[in-house]
Every structure is written in C-alpha cells, then in structure tokens.
C-alpha cells in the first residue's frame, strides 16, 4: 500500500494521466474541468511527460483531434464538461464506430440553460447512446484509479472502444482530499503499450470512417452493440487485475448494507458516500436501509443490478438529470427496464435531486427514505419527483 497524499482531485487526475505514457492530449478548458487541462499542459510544458499537448480552439476540435490522433495510433486523451461535451456530441458516435480507444474525463456539470456551471449529470445523459463505455466515480481515489484503468480497458484488443470517466464537477474536481497515487513503475507494469487495430500511415494506407449505406449500416450498428456488450467481460477482468495489484477492488454495482435491506437507495457518482452516512443513521434507528451504487453506466450491468436489488421491498432510484416530458430520470427508466421481466421486484420511487449544484446533505437522503417508508399504501410508487423543489 502506498502512502496517502493530499491533492486537488482534478490535478491528481492530470498527474495520473501523466503516468500513462500518453502520446497526445487535446483538452479545451471549461469549468469545472479546467484544472485537468491546465495541469496536464504544465506536465507537457515542463517536460515531465513526453506527449503532444494540442491547444485546440474548441471542444469540437478537441474531439476531432483525438479521433485523428488515435487513428494514427497515438494514445490520446481529452477531458471536458457540460457545454463542451454537448459541443463534442456529434463526434462521439463517430469515435466509437471507428473503434478508437480514446479516453476522456468528464467533470460533470449542468447543461445550460440557464447557465449554471455547477454539478449534475445532465451533460453525460444526452451522450448515453453514443457507444462509449461510461464509468461513474465516487471519490478522488476512484477518479485517479479509473483514469489509469480506462486506457487498459479501451485499448484491450477485444474492446477497442472509447471510455468516458464521469467525475462530479466541483464536488470531486475541486476537492483536496487524501488518496494513494500509483508510482510510475506500478503503472508501467499494469499498462501495456497501445497496439492499435489499424493505423493511418502513408506506408500502408487504410481508410477509416468510410461511407456506408443501408446495405451495411444495420450490420455496423449490430457490431457496435455487440462490441460494447462484450466489453463488460474485459472491464471485470481489468478491475480484478487492478485489485490484485493495488488492493482496491471495483465492481459494476457495489452495495452497502444491502443484503437484508427492505428499502434500498441507488446512487451514481459522488453522492454515494454521503448517502452511506444516511444508511448508518437509519440503521441506528432500526430501519433496514441499504445502498446500491452504480459505477458502470455503459455497458449497463443488468445481471449485477438485478441481483443487488431483487430482494428489497422498495427501491429509491436517485437521478441527477431528467428526461423532460418522459418517464422520469434516465437511471430510473433504465432500472425499470432491467426489472421488467422479473417476477419478484421492488416498488420503485424516483427522486431527481442535486440539480445545478444544489447541495444534498445527509438529512435529504434520510428524508427520502422516510418519505418512501411513510407511503404505506404505495401511492407514490413508480412516480418521479423533483426532490426539495419549492412548490
């Protein structure tokens, strides 16, 4: 076990990426991601890492640049937030269709409007169907670990897909907190050199991103879907390998006091640890409350989620974004579809909360449990609500 050090998480993420022998980074600064861009460009400028830092003029260009550079066989990294991610949007499915193992940190931030800059998940949710592997982290340690692990998953020969790592903006990025930073030797041992599936090189020309009509488009979409589903096996393997090397184990779905729980709560991202404190408070009062944390958003871990929640009577799904005019939060609809065919399944309640940076103290989580427990006639089951909204 390494020594615990303290550092701002965004800076630590850049340090971790700096250990990964990247060839190229193209990052356009945007709050609250900017400290990643700034520190990574410092590492390059100071000669601490041997990589090209491309100072692009927008996020659209950042994503275009990493697509080109990954296609040329370079290990390529980018990071963004909110409007920047929205600006990249049209390129995200292209990166995954071309099977380019780009890795990207997303310092999650509310999407305008109104302009906000603080944390929620409304930036990543519209990108859900882009064909990227999508991971959520809950603390600084995980932000660092996943930033390194992502390269190995993405570049695995059976995966070859881009990965995004969702790090709650401010709540995580701007937090100085303790963690262990792997050493260069350890990362070298863990992360093999990047072997691309094809490269753009004049000596052996290939075409990437060619045109395809209706005669092939369906087959290509099917292949992409299979690739993303199959990536789960590799993700599990790589996480296991990480656990063996570093003693920190990661699972697609993690539980806290969930085994005998009658009421469960499901969270994604940095809210998990605060929610854990609410569980302790409720348990102290004799309430059988438990927590389920969803770490892997794509590929969606159907089996693991079913196993984690099937025995509960009630399940509170929390969402940090909404599907306007739709069925509630995006996590809520995903969980519902996962459980549709199950005979035994909990009643599900959906709270949309922590929007645009609204703080969520422990008391809000216990409040959600209390509200659900008070609904003895199950009248509010299967509905969604904006938690704490002023009526």
């Amino acid at each position: 076990m390494g020594k615990r050090i303290g550092m701002e998480v965004a800076v630590a993420v850049a340090e971790a990426v700096g250990l990964c022998n990247i060839d190229m980074a193209a990052v356009y600064p945007i709050t609250p991601q900017s400290h990643i861009a700034e520190h990574l460009s410092d590492l390059v400028a100071d000669g601490k890492i041997d990589a090209e830092f491309v100072t692009v003029e927008s996020e659209h260009s950042a994503m275009s640049a990493v697509i080109g550079s990954s296609g040329a066989g370079a290990r390529s990294y980018t990071a963004t937030s909110s409007q920047g991610l929205m600006y990249m949007h049209e390129l995200l499915p292209i990166a995954s269709a071309m099977r380019l193992p780009i890795t990207m940190a997303i310092a999650n931030r509310a999407v305008s409007g109104p302009l906000n800059i603080l944390n929620d998940h409304s930036d990543i949710m519209p990108q859900r169907d882009s064909g990227w592997i999508s991971i959520f982290v809950e603390n600084g340690q995980e932000s660092i670990d996943m930033s390194i692990i992502a390269f190995k998953i993405a570049e695995h020969k059976d995966v070859m897909l881009p990965v995004n790592i969702n790090i709650d903006g401010f709540q995580l990025t701007h937090m100085v907190e303790p963690f262990e930073m792997p050493t260069q030797e350890e990362v070298n041992k863990f992360l093999p050199p990047f072997v691309p599936h094809a490269t753009l090189h004049p000596a052996k020309p290939v075409t990437m991103g060619a045109f395809a009509m209706s005669d092939y488009f369906t087959e290509i979409m099917k292949a992409k879907d299979e690739a993303l589903k199959n990536s789960k096996k590799v993700i599990l393997e790589v996480w296991d390998e990480w656990a063996k090397l570093f003693g920190r184990s990661y699972k697609p779905v993690e539980t806290y006091k969930a085994d005998d729980a009658e009421v469960l709560m499901l969270t994604m991202g940095s809210m998990g640890e605060t929610a854990q404190m609410a569980i302790d408070e409720l348990r102290a009062k004799g309430i059988k409350a438990g927590l389920v944390k969803l770490r892997l958003w794509r590929p969606f871990p159907f089996e693991e989620i079913k196993a984690a929640i099937k025995n509960a009577k009630k399940l509170i799904v929390t969402d940090r974004a909404n599907s306007f005019g739709g069925p509630g939060g995006p996590v809520f609809s995903e969980i519902k579809s996962a459980l549709y065919a199950e005979v035994q399944r909990p009643l599900i309640y959906n709270y949309i909360y922590g929007l645009g940076g609204r703080d969520v103290p422990v008391g809000d989580f216990t409040g959600m449990f209390e509200k659900v427990l008070a609904d003895t006639a199950n009248k509010q089951a299967d509905t969604y609500e904006f938690w704490g909204v002023r009526e």
Binding site: A97, M98, R99, L100, M160, H197, A198, K204, P205, V206, T207, M208, A210, A212, D215, Y216, T218, E219, I220, K222, A223, E226
Partner: protein
C-alpha cells in the same frame, strides 16, 4: 458478391486495401461526355484540378483527356474551362 455479416466486418469498418475506390466505375453514371477541342486548349490544367473524380489525365503532348471508366459526366471540367475548349455532348 455476397454482403458480409456483422461478424465478418473488420473492427471499426476500416478499409485496409489502398485505392479500392478504383473498383467503383463511376463511368456508368454518365449521360453526357466531355469532348476536348485542343485547338482552343491553352494547357492551363484547370480541368485536371477541378474534376471531382480525378479522372482527367495529361497526355504526353500536354493536352488533357478523361478516363471514361470514371468520368461521370458532371460537366464541371467544361464549366470551369474558361477558353471553352471542352464541350459536353449527349451519350449514345
């Protein structure tokens, strides 16, 4: 040629054979063809530059001809040739 199944597609649909577009004979699209009048031609090369198929070639004497396997009859060469050395005539 049988179409490939999704399993047979290369990763990322990379086309690994260079220049395979030459198998695609766009000449079959043509309803008009360009005819060069070398008496008017000043060998400026504009037709060579503008042809979207890249099928205009320079001959040894410095004049230009189109490769009819690929000339799709779009007429851009004729439009761009300012000494009006190229005329488009109906096929067939």
């Amino acid at each position: 040629m049988a179409l490939k199944t999704w399993r047979e597609l290369p990763i990322g649909c990379v086309v690994s054979e260079p220049g395979s577009a030459s198998e695609y004979h766009t000449g079959s699209w043509r309803s008009q063809r360009p005819i060069w009048d070398n008496k008017k031609c000043i060998k400026c090369g504009i037709c060579y530059v503008f042809c979207p198929e890249g099928c205009v070639q320079q001959t040894e004497d410095g004049f230009f001809v189109a490769n009819m396997d690929y000339c799709k009859g779009c007429g851009i060469c004729a439009h761009e040739c300012w000494p009006r050395a190229i005329a488009m005539i109906e096929e067939g």
